[in-house]
């Protein structure tokens, strides 16, 4: 789950990472109120999860309430690369002496945490990596050992952070690492990390991505979920506990397992069709989940046929079949189903479907993935 900048800053604040004083605003009036609280001059920043806000006119400096009114009025509702601005973050403007970059991620290849630190911040780090890779310090941290204060100081020195900023940077690195680990982030990034003329180091931006698997130990994430921007289908799917991604084709897809679901998309594509979605009902899917999955697919007006591709391991064939029978009794499906059912208890599943009295115009069964894909694609045309 990706956070907006203001949420990232609020999250940083929980770990004592210094951020500018400010507040989030949904209206022009709220923006002025936030500016009055933060103290002028302020920066009004569009809250969208896409890069290039500044270039698009989504970040403006305001010296007084009138300027806040003008800028917030312009920015709220603005379309930045397809993202409509619903909120602005208004914060006290900082004087900047220097701009750095710091982030923590998991390096999957090395199976270790990775610190990236550069004295060249404020620009896209990919750009720095391409033009001047030696300007980025890349340091692997063993998750068992963690990052010590001394280790952070050494990183700041090795990254050639100027001496007057080293201590401040090291302090923030230790806090940001805590945020990354204890806060269960996939990514915790500060760009730019600034040095003020007064000597303090401080996070001017925040890019945080949270690991959804750690949701169970973070009740404080509830407020972040409320602002997640999902389409209607994705919202319904989430309520039903399904992994769903909306696409714009005509064959609705239900599969168990991410790999098989991706493969199903591939095969539909290869035989000349287009998938309406990615939907993984997961391991151990039961009748309820299958019925829910069919309801989600049915809510998509573009769907002309439904391809259910199940290979049972944890998922049991008879549960899948019961789910389909139940869904057909619960929802009036607009599109016909083509099913391919194999693996654990597939025989039982097939016999449940065969004996349920479902007309062939509503459900057909095919023995292989390819044949089922061809049939589903033919029905969608």
């Amino acid at each position: 789950m990706d956070l907006f900048e203001y949420q990232g800053k609020q999250y940083f604040a929980r770990f004592d990472i210094p951020v500018s004083k400010g507040d989030v605003a949904h209206t022009v009036d709220e923006a002025v109120k936030a500016a009055d609280m933060a103290g002028y001059p302020v920066v009004v920043k569009a809250q969208v999860q896409v890069g290039g806000r500044g270039k698009a006119g989504g970040i403006k400096l305001a010296n007084n309430a009138d300027e806040v009114r003008t800028h917030a009025g312009n920015i709220l509702g603005m379309d930045i690369k397809g993202h409509v601005v619903k909120r602005v973050w208004v914060e006290n403007a900082s004087d900047i002496a220097e701009e750095y970059y710091a982030s923590f991620t998991l390096d999957r290849g090395a199976k270790k945490h990775l610190l990236m630190l550069s004295k060249e911040g404020g620009v896209e780090i990919e750009e720095v990596a391409a033009k001047n890779p030696s300007a980025i310090l890349m340091l692997h941290i063993n998750p068992v050992d963690g990052l010590s204060a001394a280790g952070a100081m050494k990183a700041a020195v090795d990254a050639k952070i100027p001496q007057n900023a080293q201590q401040g940077v090291a302090d923030i690195l230790v806090k940001l690492y805590r945020c990354f680990t204890e806060g269960d982030c996939d990514l915790a990034e500060i760009n730019p990390l600034i040095l003020k003329p007064t000597g303090e180091v401080h996070a001017l931006d925040a890019k945080v991505s949270l690991d959804a698997n750690a949701d169970f130990r973070h009740p404080e994430w509830e407020e972040f979920k409320a602002t997640e921007e999902l389409d209607a289908r994705e919202k319904l799917a989430r309520e039903k506990g399904l992994q769903y991604i909306g696409l714009d084709g005509s064959v609705g897809i239900i599969a168990n397992g991410a790999g098989l679901a991706m493969s199903t998309l591939d095969v539909v594509n290869q035989v000349g069709g287009t998938a309406a979605n990615f939907l993984d009902i997961g391991g151990g899917a039961n009748a309820d989940l299958m019925a829910g999955a069919l309801e989600v697919i049915n809510s998509d007006q573009n769907v002309k046929s439904i391809f259910i591709n199940i290979f049972g391991g944890i998922t049991r064939g008879e549960e899948v079949a019961k789910g389909i029978v139940e869904a057909l009794s619960r929802v009036d499906l607009r599109a016909p189903i083509v099913i391919r059912l194999d693996g654990t208890n597939a025989e039982e599943g097939r016999s449940i479907l065969a004996n349920a009295g479902i007309p062939e115009s509503k459900l057909t069964s095919k023995p292989t993935m390819l044949e089922a894909a061809r049939a589903a694609v033919a029905l969608a045309k």
């Binding site: 130990r217 991410a258 991706m262 998309l265 591939d266 290869q270 990615f278």
Partner: protein, 299 residues
């Protein structure tokens, strides 16, 4: 021969008294696997259809001499269960648990590397391992795995995706091709066992004559495997990579399955594998057909 497990492997099930643990533990036993004990704290002294349950892995190991564990406990408890098994002397741990936080996985993996370097973890979030006719640990339906033939050729399977592991087994079964061992390494960010670990074992296993590898988008595990194959694997291989049509920047279910910044694409992975001499199919069936051709050539 088979890799990692065989007919003598004694297995305990951590979480045998839970719904999934009981279902799959009993299925593994019915397949012929030596499932010798279950472990559930607080339920020691009971049994699950004749399989004795102990309070701790240490007690179960002392009583049975088990060397392998099947971990099927909820995400919150999985890391502790894995480390408990390692500390109790288990040398091969299969964890099927889905949804373990990445930070926990990274810590657990590196703790194993530091404190228990001889322990192998398979998973988490994997379907497990099956050596057809000998041992099945995990959630694979045993009947879809073709038995290896004494005269060969037999195929080893390694897959990052659960259900595609079954698909690969099934493709070989349809064609009557024997399987030496099938390993599902799982699609999580920090898998305990990598493609390379399995490829190395298959290369050294005299009962394995060819290898199928199933990968998916995201990360760089397939590219690293391709490098390894180029330098070390002489046995013929076919492969399939899922996610050719996946849109960039979207998380496709697995934490692993995401294309970001043009990296980790299916095309890049397929190119790397082809460059290493692997025959790459456009779908699982085609990878199966390519393997059938390879096997026909070996016969």
């Amino acid at each position: 021969m088979a890799i990692f497990v065989n007919q003598d492997t004694k297995v305990i099930v951590q979480g045998l008294t839970g719904g999934q643990g009981k279902y799959h533990g009993l299925r593994n036993k019915a397949y012929g696997t030596q499932v010798v004990a279950g472990v559930t704290p607080g339920k020691g002294g009971t049994d699950v259809e004749g399989i004795p349950v102990y309070n701790s892995v240490a007690e179960a190991v002392a009583a049975t001499g088990a060397t392998a564990s099947f971990v099927t406990v909820p995400p919150k408890a999985a890391s502790a269960a894995i480390l408990e098994a390692a500390a109790a002397g288990i040398s091969f741990i299969v964890c099927i648990t889905e949804g373990i936080p990445a930070q926990d996985e990274a810590r657990t993996y590196n703790t194993l590397v530091r404190d228990f370097p001889n322990v192998r973890l398979l998973g988490p979030n994997c379907p497990g391992i099956i050596s057809p006719g000998k041992c099945n640990i995990g959630i694979t339906a045993g009947e879809i795995a073709e038995l290896p033939s004494a005269s060969g050729p037999n195929v080893g399977i390694v897959s990052r995706s659960g259900t595609l592991t079954y698909q690969a087994l099934y493709e070989l079964k349809q064609r009557g091709i024997g399987v030496s061992t099938c390993v599902g390494i799982g699609g999580d960010p920090v898998p305990g066992t990598s493609f390379i670990d399995c490829l190395r074992e298959f290369q050294n296993d005299p009962e394995t004559h060819a290898i199928i590898m199933i990968g998916e988008i995201g990360g760089s595990a397939e590219e690293e495997a391709a490098e390894f194959i180029k330098a070390n694997v002489t046995k013929p291989m076919s492969a399939y990579i899922a996610g050719v049509t996946a849109p960039a920047g979207k998380k496709m279910g697995h934490a692993g399955a995401i294309v970001s910044g043009g990296k980790g694409t299916a095309q890049g992975k397929m190119d790397a594998l082809r460059d290493a001499g692997v025959k790459v199919g456009q779908n699982p069936t085609e990878a199966g057909e390519l393997m059938a051709e390879i096997v026909a050539g070996l016969r």
